[in-house]
Amino acid sequence: MPTRRLLAAFAATALVLGACSDPSTAERTPTASDPIVLATGGEPDTLNPVLGFGVDGASLIFDGLVSRDGQNNLVPALAAELPAVSTDGRTVTAKLRPGVTFHNGTALTAEDVAFTYRSVLDPKVDSVLRSDLDMLTKVEATDASTVVFTLKYAYAPFLQRLTLGIVPAKALQGQDINKAGFNQKPVGTGPYKVTSWTPGDRLVLAANDTYHGGKPANSGVIVAFVDDDNVRAQRARAGEFDAAELAPKLATTFAGFTVQRVPSADYRGMMLPFGRPVTGDTAIRQALNVAVDRGAMVKGVLGGAGEPAFGPVPPNSPFAEPSVAGNTAADTAEAGQLLDAAGWAPDGDGIRAKGSQRAAFTLMYPAGDSLRKELALAVVADAKKAGIEIKLDGLTWDAIRPRMKADALIMGWGTPYDPDFISYKLFGSQFAGEASYNPGHYNSPVADKALQDGRDHADEATRKQAYATFQKQLATDVPWVFLTYLQHTYVVRNGITGVTPRVEAHEHGVENSLWWNVHTWTKR
């Protein structure tokens, strides 16, 4: 008898499984009110801006005092107008937009803004943003709708730092922010409210009908988190998503979808540590800089979705210095001349040597990042042609960090917002060896001064001049061999309207991706 019951259960299961294979869900025609389904591999660790979610704005759930438009220009968001900077550059005053409420109905006040920034500065809070705001001494709410920021020193791009999402003070006061439930189910002022977040699976957002920027054009957003590039592409092809970020080679047109290649300030390059016998030699670094075939990398590794990189300021930025751009193809002959001139002579085994020192070093890459692995392989092949031997090592980040001062590394960074961001720490000598800002101990008084000038001056022309000097100095010293700027590649379902690509930063995921303005998207 039990056997028969089991068989019956099995038959029932088979029926259910069989019945489900009819593809009715795939053929359903979506209506405008349907939620938009997005897919990304970049799942946030937390949804709390204080801990690092949506720092650059466009976080769907939160608003900063300011946000960016389609050209990445600052526009007021929770601030009524762009905050005013005092003439000495050390006091910044923001007036709040009236009548803004959080998702839970409470009104936004200046105290919430002050609380948000104070929490970032609080040493008990494990916020990784603190070092970005180290110019900030205090934040005060002088009245219910006015916030005053006091800076240690004048910081030209400070307004760009005000995109950080504002959290309600009442929801977090007196709690251990590091472990608050808020981090999983936050309350913001943005176009979407959090319905649920299932880590590793999806984030479900519902439209905030009382959004101060106008009611969203769709009923909600579902963000699917699919960590693996291949699995995400498989599911995108099965038609599960309305828009998905895919690896460049996997973002190919398939039925019903269009590929979007979005320009970015997201660069990849090889960091070469100073103070080492091989990578510390300027001739080696300059030779590598001309020996790499950036054109072949863009075509072969990125499937065309990118452009050659020659410095940390993207070509589409007003601060870009055109003279630093070089040859996109490999110039092995020039590399050879540079090496010959410096005394690196060809040896029997095809690898050059200077005295007893072989032109050989180790290049690390993060093992989980297949793009960096492929760029590393391409660099190794190009360097070999120039007579430089590179040994590869694929490691986890915790294994890479202690070795960064000694071994080269494929790194990636970049932001389109201000040339001071990232570069100040990545190439400033005062950050040499500290954490992973300037792991290679790059030390150039010229670059230091240029970076400082760019930071201290508010005048556009002076800043341009400073960053031009900085970029030229980098091109001479080659602390990094810049390889490529990526284009972030997405597939978008035909019939989605409102997609407005804008130049993207290295860090993007739920926030700050192609869907930065998803609240204006509709689906036909």
């Binding site: 590039d229 080679k249 492929e374």
Partner: protein, 272 residues
């Protein structure tokens, strides 16, 4: 040699020959790429096709087989030594030691191997040594059981009694009488472990927890090939997969027939 042994033996012979000879006659530059020759379908000149960095899939598969077999054999040997020692202690001492050891082994058998392997590799950082250790530490149980069982049954056999009454030393009994009987069984158990160790290694590599991903290993290649599968270049994952299947199947088949000969009561009846 039975004619049914010919095919698997030939496959294993070829695999071993490939592992030993390919590095000599057809050395692979592990970091070579050919970005102007990516994702080419298999052809007469390139029987395995190329992957999406222009690397020869068949060539890398043979190198991957080399790594996998090396990990498999070394891990199996380490596991055999470990299992042999523990099984030997249990079988020779018998009594309470035996009961406790066997109970402990039964319990350890319930540990999920792959999860433990993942844990070990994650904490020691992915590397060849960590993979070997994680495979060896989770695969010694069957050898321990076999050794212990053999020793216990031998202890009751008349020729051992005769040797003891004849005044032979313990060492002599062990080396002259016990080892010759146990060794073939140990060798068989080790051989049967090799395919398991190979799967374990490829699984860890596939999950990104094995060898560094730029090196040619079968698991790494199937992982890389997953992307090529989506761009239509099926050969990049099919070829390394077929290499694993063919070689492990041949080892398993040969070992199964070997077992039949050692112990004709149990017939595995695997025919290829």
């Amino acid at each position: 040699m039975d004619k049914r042994d010919v095919t698997p033996a030939a496959v294993i012979g070829l695999a071993v020959a490939a592992c030993l000879l390919v590095p000599v006659i057809w050395p692979l530059d592990q970091s070579a790429v050919a970005l102007d020759n990516i994702s080419q379908a298999p052809s007469l000149t390139d029987p395995g096709g190329t992957d999406d960095l222009g690397r020869d899939v068949l060539h890398r598969s043979l190198y991957g087989l080399r790594v996998s077999l090396l990990v498999g054999v070394v891990a199996a040997l380490v596991a055999t030594v470990l299992g042999g020692l523990i099984g030997g202690v249990a079988g020779l001492l018998g009594g309470w030691t035996d009961r406790i050891l066997m109970r402990v082994i039964d319990t350890i058998a319930a540990l999920p191997h792959l999860l433990l392997g993942i844990f070990i590799v994650a904490m020691l950082r992915p590397s060849l040594g960590a993979v070997v250790l994680s495979v060896a530490l989770t695969h010694w149980l069957s050898t321990a059981r076999i050794v212990r069982g053999e020793l216990l049954s031998l202890r009751t056999r008349p020729f051992i009694d005769a040797a003891i009454t004849g005044g032979a030393s313990r060492a002599r009994i062990l080396t002259r009488h016990l080892l010759p009987h146990v060794l073939p069984k140990i060798a068989l158990a080790t051989t049967l472990m090799v395919p398991h160790a190979v799967w374990h290694e490829t699984a860890l590599s596939f999950l990104g927890l094995g060898l560094p991903p730029h090196l040619a290993s079968l698991g790494n290649m199937i992982n890389d090939g997953q992307r090529s599968l989506l761009t239509g270049a099926w050969w990049a994952s099919i070829v390394p997969g077929l290499v694993i299947v063919t070689v492990t199947l041949a080892i398993a088949a040969l070992a199964a027939r070997w077992r039949d000969r050692l112990d004709p009561r149990v017939r595995a009846e695997l025919e290829l």
